[in-house]
């Protein structure tokens, strides 16, 4: 074989020279884009909708029935407990005033406050053993949403779009549907790209016009005025380019305005709910004052995912679930706003055949204590040592209850799922490897888990 080679020096050297020219590092730094990228192993989930319940929904009143707590109602709790508010704190245990009953074929026990969820219980995995272990909103939000209790890190959605890009180049990859009542307490950190390139930041769809800043024109420009502006600009640019033949950058910029206009049209179309049927409107509760606003955003989330958006966050208003007091009124009201639309989203995705590839998440950054806060106006204080959240679709089991808290619902004691376990599982469902999805940082490779020993929670995988 060696003799068959027979190339002269000239060929060998020119080959080498060409190769060396090619191997030179590019002059320009790497550009990041949102084109679809293959995961490292076959994915179950392709998109995710996170219904984020900021404030800390009371798991002992919604998801995690505690007969022992009811039995010891109004007796003094003498175990170790951490209060956020010492002045109003009370050691008295408080049984849930709401009734629990088995739901669905699976018999998942849920509170009467969640009639909607009850109807889709067989499509849901309920985790009752969540744990972050930091007793305030900010840190626990950071933990649940960006992997560690510190600020400045990339959000889960930024990681997913960094790792996988997005399916639609006409829509933002990562969309955030904010509540008219304000952002979660950590503000824009909830969808910050942290130290990932800024194209992986969440794009906010605002609850008022223009819904997407920069992507949508202000109302007064929308439609004909902007079309006219683009036409006139195109004319200016074409004349300018025609005087400069061969200047391809100029043509590229003309094309980029055309692409931008297409993106506007695509966004407008995706946010327009008028083409959805009356039945769908009703299912999401658009016919009801209590659910209209939130239901619209759930429906928009579905439409976005349907059109290839990778990750959507739907927020509730600032501290919507932070029921330190008046829980008897406030908790049912928060449930009324979200329960029916959230269930509709699961049912709708399923009927469209999208649920198996779309992971739906419902949960917040904490749960609540089994004891009373404020005996004069009963509520519950923070609890990040044991709380509940649910997932549906995207490769998780239906009708599954996972993990346990202690007999009073205070601490997760069985199959504990830490935030980093949740994140490891999430990346796994998307076909990503938590160890290899990294970004170069000054102190070494940065990642979502950041060295925390997260485990994939196999018990919930379908």
């Amino acid at each position: 074989l060696g003799q068959g080679f027979g190339l002269g020096s000239l060929a060998v050297l020119s080959l080498l020279a060409e190769e060396q020219a090619r191997a030179k590092p590019p002059l320009e730094r790497p550009a990041y884009d949102l084109r679809p990228k293959p995961p490292v192993h076959p994915p179950k989930a392709r998109a995710m909708i996170s219904l984020f319940m900021q404030g800390g929904p009371s798991h002992v009143d919604l998801f995690d029935p505690k007969p022992e707590l009811t039995r010891r109602h109004m007796t003094t709790f003498t175990g170790d407990i951490k209060y956020d508010n010492a002045a109003e704190s009370s050691p008295k245990l408080f049984g849930s005033p709401w009734k629990f009953a088995p739901r669905g074929q699976c018999g998942m026990e849920l509170s009467e406050l969640l009639p909607g969820l009850a109807e889709v219980a067989d499509d849901v995995t309920l985790i009752r053993s969540m744990h972050t272990g930091v007793n305030n909103h900010g840190q626990s939000l950071y933990a649940m949403n960006s992997g560690r209790i510190t600020n400045g890190r990339p959000a889960v959605g930024s990681w997913l779009t960094y790792g996988l890009g997005t399916e639609s180049q006409d829509l933002p990859a990562y969309v955030v549907l904010t509540d008219p009542g304000g952002l979660p307490v950590t503000g824009t950190e909830m969808f910050s790209n942290g130290w990932l390139p800024s194209i992986f930041q969440g794009t906010v769809v605002r609850p008022r016009e223009p819904r997407i800043l920069n992507l949508e024109p202000p109302p007064v420009e929308a439609g004909a005025p902007q079309d006219e502006y683009l036409e006139f600009l195109g004319q200016l640019n074409r004349e300018h380019a025609s005087e400069r033949p061969g200047e391809t950058d100029l043509a590229a910029r003309i094309a980029s305005f055309e692409l931008a206009a297409r993106m506007q049209t695509a966004a407008k179309e995706a946010l327009d709910l008028s083409s959805e049927s009356q039945a769908v409107h009703r299912m999401y509760g658009l016919d009801d004052e209590a659910t209209r606003e939130y239901g619209s955003r759930c429906l928009i989330a579905r439409r976005l995912v349907e059109r290839g958006v990778r990750y959507v966050q739907v927020f509730t208003q600032t501290q919507a679930w932070d029921h330190h007091g008046a829980i008897a009124k406030a908790l049912p009201s928060a449930c009324r706003k979200t329960d029916r639309p959230a269930a509709a989203l699961v049912r709708d995705l399923k009927s469209l055949g999208l649920l198996q590839s779309t992971l739906v998440h419902w949960g917040g950054e904490m749960g609540r204590l089994p004891v009373i806060q404020n005996e004069k106006n009963i509520g519950r204080d923070h609890n990040t040592y044991g709380f509940s959240m649910w997932l549906a679709g995207g490769g998780v089991k239906g009708g599954c209850v996972y993990g346990k808290t202690d007999e009073l619902g205070h601490k997760a004691v069985e199959d504990v799922v830490n935030h980093y376990d949740y994140h490891a599982t999430l990346l796994h469902l998307f076909g990503l490897d938590p160890a290899t999805l990294t970004f170069a940082r000054p102190g070494g490779a940065g990642s979502l888990l950041d060295g925390q020993a997260g485990r994939v929670v196999n018990g919930i995988l379908a």
Binding site: L1, G4, F5, L7, G8, S9, A11, V12, L13, L15, L16, E18, A23, L27, E28, R29, T78, D80, A86, E88, S89, P91, T150, N151, G152, R153, L183, G187, T188, S192, W195, S198, I199, V204, P210, L213, N214, E216, E221, A222, P225, Q226, E228, Y229, L233, L236, H240, A241, R244, P245, G246, E247, D249, A252, S256, F257, A260, Q264, P442, G443
Partner: protein, 872 residues
């Protein structure tokens, strides 16, 4: 399999190569030129470079290969198949790991062995100790002394306005071509204005220049612009790119601010405006502290300025002031990044890879790297580290210092009173909570509370747990009595504020300096690992430059400090250093033409690009040094050349002969940089605030997370409530004054390829993306600037619509629109006006009228058009 693949591709290339190049006698495979660089890149580390040679094999010379290692000789001259090195390569065994030899590299090795495995020059009997470089490496162009070349002779003498033209034109003529005609006057003045000031020319100055027939008009214009203060702002930003300037530490997520970094930025602006000789500029940045004497207290103005220059060595991302950071790693990173900044900015070399092993391509040994490091370690000493707060030098006078000390004492006294009163309130609240308990528990509760936490009995602990409201303390008192604590806090806050108002404002300088007498030893780190130091090294420059650079003393007895950086800076600026002047004139050239003579301004090594005009590069470098290192003279030389004044229009012939414009037979059309786009919008709209210098204008995320200029105020729930309230003209200052927060690039700059700050930026990209388009179409900054431009045009042109349209065009582009362009613009405004009138969108009281909106829409089209964004 491997072999089949490379045979095929080699044959294809053989055919291609045979077509395009005639065979030459010199095309034999040579060890020194072809083979050794391959082995150096892939094999030397294990087989030669490190103390222990794997398999006792030294591949750094042919004799080593013939002598072989544990498995015998590795090369059989003439017989590759019998050569162990070939067998291991084809078997995929060597080199180990993922990075294998490419097909071409393997073919070179094989051919060389086939041809007898010879060398061009005889090898010595033994290899010298330590790194050694071949003649080829020593002869590399960038390491040769700068030699002023003779001026080329050109046929068309009339086109050779100055020496630059001769170099460019000679090559063009040789290729049967020549210069493009000069650009029209209005193009030239706009080009010049953006080039030197980063701002557009005013319509009046365009008019004046275009009507001035005097032959001196051009050089007078160049001089006038070079003398404007905006020149320093523009060119400072160019220098801040490779310097890695930022107003924050980066490194950690917190990204703490560097509130005093601005003094370095201001130093650069002042130095450039004053045309400070570049050698002095370099010396001050590398060793300003060593030009002064410690302690650096009560500095006068000029001394403070010189010390501020050392901010250059404080730009690297830095996590050492933060908790939760591994200090050893973070400190090492700061030193490494600082070396990267110094080497890319001044040496045009990537020395960073020599941190772990000899550079794979360039003659830079690992020891070289640590010799460079030794220059900086007396100031960046990992074992005596100055955290960010310890790098600040106060600019207070003695009197201000005393006044501050007095205020501080008063504040301590107030704090003492505050705490005493607060403890009284806490005790009162506690008593009330106790009173609510059953009588028999009260005594026990008081006793439990009075017992220090660590000494409490289990019963006491239990009691306090059962009645958690007893746990009132200074921090939680407000939860019990909100109004009282509010009033209490206000009282003391007011007292504090009144007292503090008498404290002179802080005036600090962030800088770099050594602690006299503290000179740490510097060692080579085994494979770059700071915890595995090996032999010690003395400070010095790259070994390959020996003879051209000065020796660096370990400790200059004439100075209180080590004198290492000062000696290094003096050597760099001696006028004999082969790199510095070339690197700097190349950067200047790049900013004038859009592309450097060396297209990789931060890498003059083998992985960078070779110079397109090596003789011109040397001529400029030599001229720069001999003109007294004057940047302004260099600008003048370039700007008065015919070459720079050429038209940027492409022609078919030129495109065929030189599609990349390598020969510079025309000017390049360039897109404005991010800062120039923002600044130009502020300028033409009349909103630009001309204030120079001082603390950075802050940035913050707005309600949707976009980074905007402003304080980014949020309420207690973190809800965004405003941006720029009360900032006056600050938001409208030039971009060079806007805070460079590493984690928060400004939303209107970032999409237009703003400089990287990790750690520095050698070369900016120029991208075109729909994100930019959306920003121009819908972004509030662009829209508000368009509205301002419209108001300005209307107020300057009066009521006549065509006049307004023409005025806006001239403000935006400098030139006058044609009649057709004015007519089209006016027609556009009319039809937009009708559309706004018909609009059903909600109207508010202070909304602009449809006519105002329509003119603003026209202005927005101008500001987002290519005529605005590009310079011919």
């Amino acid at each position: 399999m491997i072999r089949r693949l490379w045979t095929c591709s080699a044959l294809v290339l053989l055919a291609a190569a045979a077509e395009c190049r005639p065979a030459r006698a010199a095309d034999e495979v040579r060890y020194e030129t072809h083979v050794r660089p391959i082995l150096k890149a892939h094999c030397f580390l294990c087989h030669g470079e490190e103390d222990e040679h794997q398999g006792n094999l030294d591949l750094r010379w042919v004799k080593g290969m013939l002598a072989g290692g544990d498995s015998g000789p590795v090369v059989s001259p003439g017989d590759p198949d019998a050569s162990l090195i070939w067998q291991r390569i084809t078997a995929g065994e060597m080199p180990p790991g993922d990075k294998k030899l490419s097909n071409a590299e393997a073919a070179v090795i094989r051919t060389w062995i086939e041809q007898g495995a010879g060398t061009v020059r005889p090898e010595p009997d033994r290899l010298p100790e330590g790194p050694h470089w071949t003649e080829e490496e020593r002869n590399y162009w960038a390491f040769q002394p700068v030699k002023r070349p003779p001026l080329p002779v050109v046929r068309d003498e009339g086109l050779a306005a100055n020496p630059i033209d001769r170099f460019i034109l000679a090559e063009l003529e040789e290729n049967g071509s020549g210069f493009s005609p000069p650009a029209p006057a209005e193009t030239l003045i706009r080009r010049l204005s953006f080039d030197l000031l980063g701002l557009p020319p005013s319509p009046e100055s365009v008019e004046r220049f275009c009507c001035d027939p005097s032959p001196a008009a051009w050089s007078l214009l160049v001089d006038r612009l070079l003398a404007s203060p905006e020149y320093g702002e523009r060119w400072a930003r160019h220098w801040l790119d490779p310097a890695g300037y930022a107003d924050s530490d980066g490194y950690t997520e917190d990204d703490p601010r560097r509130p005093w970094a601005f003094r370095y930025r201001d130093y650069v602006i002042r130095s450039l405006n004053a045309d400070k000789p570049f050698d002095q500029f370099v010396v001050e940045q590398l060793a300003g502290d060593e030009l002064l004497s410690p302690p650096y207290a009560h500095l006068d103005g000029p001394s403070a300025e010189i010390l501020a220059a050392t901010g250059f060595l404080r730009t690297a991302p830095d996590g050492t002031g933060e908790g939760g950071v591994d200090q050893a790693t973070a400190r090492n990173d700061v030193v490494a990044e600082t070396i990267k900044i110094v080497s890319t900015a001044f040496l045009g070399l990537t020395v960073g890879c020599a941190q772990c092993h000899d550079h794979r391509y360039d003659p830079i040994s690992q020891e070289d790297y640590y010799r460079l490091r030794a220059l900086f370690e007396p100031a960046l000493d990992p074992n005596n580290w100055k955290k960010p707060a310890a790098r600040l030098v106060s600019l207070w006078s003695q009197q201000e210092e005393e006044q501050a000390a007095q205020v501080d004492a008063e504040i301590r006294e107030i704090e003492g009173r505050r705490v005493a009163e607060l403890d009284g309130i806490v005790a009162e609240i506690f008593e009330r909570e106790v009173a609510a308990l059953d009588l028999e528990l009260q005594g026990a509760a008081r006793f439990a509370k009075a017992t220090p936490e660590a000494d409490r009995t289990p019963e006491q602990q239990q009691l306090l747990k059962e009645y958690p409201s007893l746990n009132v303390d200074r921090g939680s008192a407000y939860l019990y009595e909100q109004q009282r604590l509010k009033d209490f806090n206000k009282k003391y806050e007011d007292q504090n504020a009144q007292t503090k108002a008498r404290r002179p404002p802080e005036q600090m300088l962030a800088c770099l300096f050594e602690t006299p007498g503290q000179i740490p030893p510097t060692a080579v780190f085994y494979r770059g690992n700071p915890s595995q130091p090996k032999q010690e090294v003395s400070p010095g420059e790259l070994g390959i430059l020996a003879g051209q650079v000065a020796e660096i003393p370990s400790d200059d007895p004439a100075l209180p400090t080590s004198g290492r950086r000062l000696a290094f800076a003096r050597s760099l600026t001696s006028g004999r250093h082969p790199l510095l002047a070339r690197v700097i004139v190349n950067r200047v050239w790049m900013h004038h033409f859009g592309k450097g003579l060396v297209a990789s301004p931060g890498d003059f090594g083998k992985l960078g690009q070779p110079p397109t005009h090596p003789e011109l590069l040397d001529y400029l470098a030599d001229e720069f040094v001999h003109s007294g290192w004057s940047l302004k003279s260099l600008h003048r030389l370039i700007l008065t050349s015919h070459c720079w004044r050429q038209s940027s229009l492409r022609s078919e012939e030129r495109e065929t002969a030189d599609p990349d414009n390598r020969m510079l037979g025309r000017m390049n059309v360039r897109r404005l940089e991010a800062e120039a786009i923002r600044d130009a919008m502020l300028d033409v709209s009349g909103t630009r605030c001309g204030k120079m210098y001082g603390p950075a204008v802050g940035v913050a995320p707005d309600e949707v997370g976009q980074i905007v200029v402003g304080a980014g105020m949020r309420d207690g729930n973190g809800i965004f409530i405003g941006t720029a309230d009360g900032m006056g003209g600050e938001p409208f200052r030039r971009s060079v004054y806007v805070e460079v927060r590493r984690s928060m690039p400004l939303g209107v700059l970032e999409p237009f390829d703003v400089a990287a700050t990790t750690p520095n930026c050698e070369l900016r990209t120029t991208s075109t993306s729909p994100v930019q388009s959306l920003l121009l179409m819908n972004g509030s900054f662009v829209r508000s600037q368009a509205a301002s431009l419209a108001r300005r045009a209307a107020s300057e042109a009066g009521d006549d619509l065509e006049g307004q349209v023409e005025r806006a065009w001239r403000l935006a582009f400098g030139s006058r629109p044609s009649e057709a362009e004015t007519a089209a613009g006016a027609a556009y405004v009319q039809s937009q006006k009708a559309r706004y009138e018909a609009s059903t969108a909600e109207k508010k009281e202070h909304d602009p009228t449809p006519a105002e909106r329509a003119l603003a829409s026209y202005c927005q089209a101008l500001l987002s058009s290519n005529r605005f964004l590009y310079v011919d």
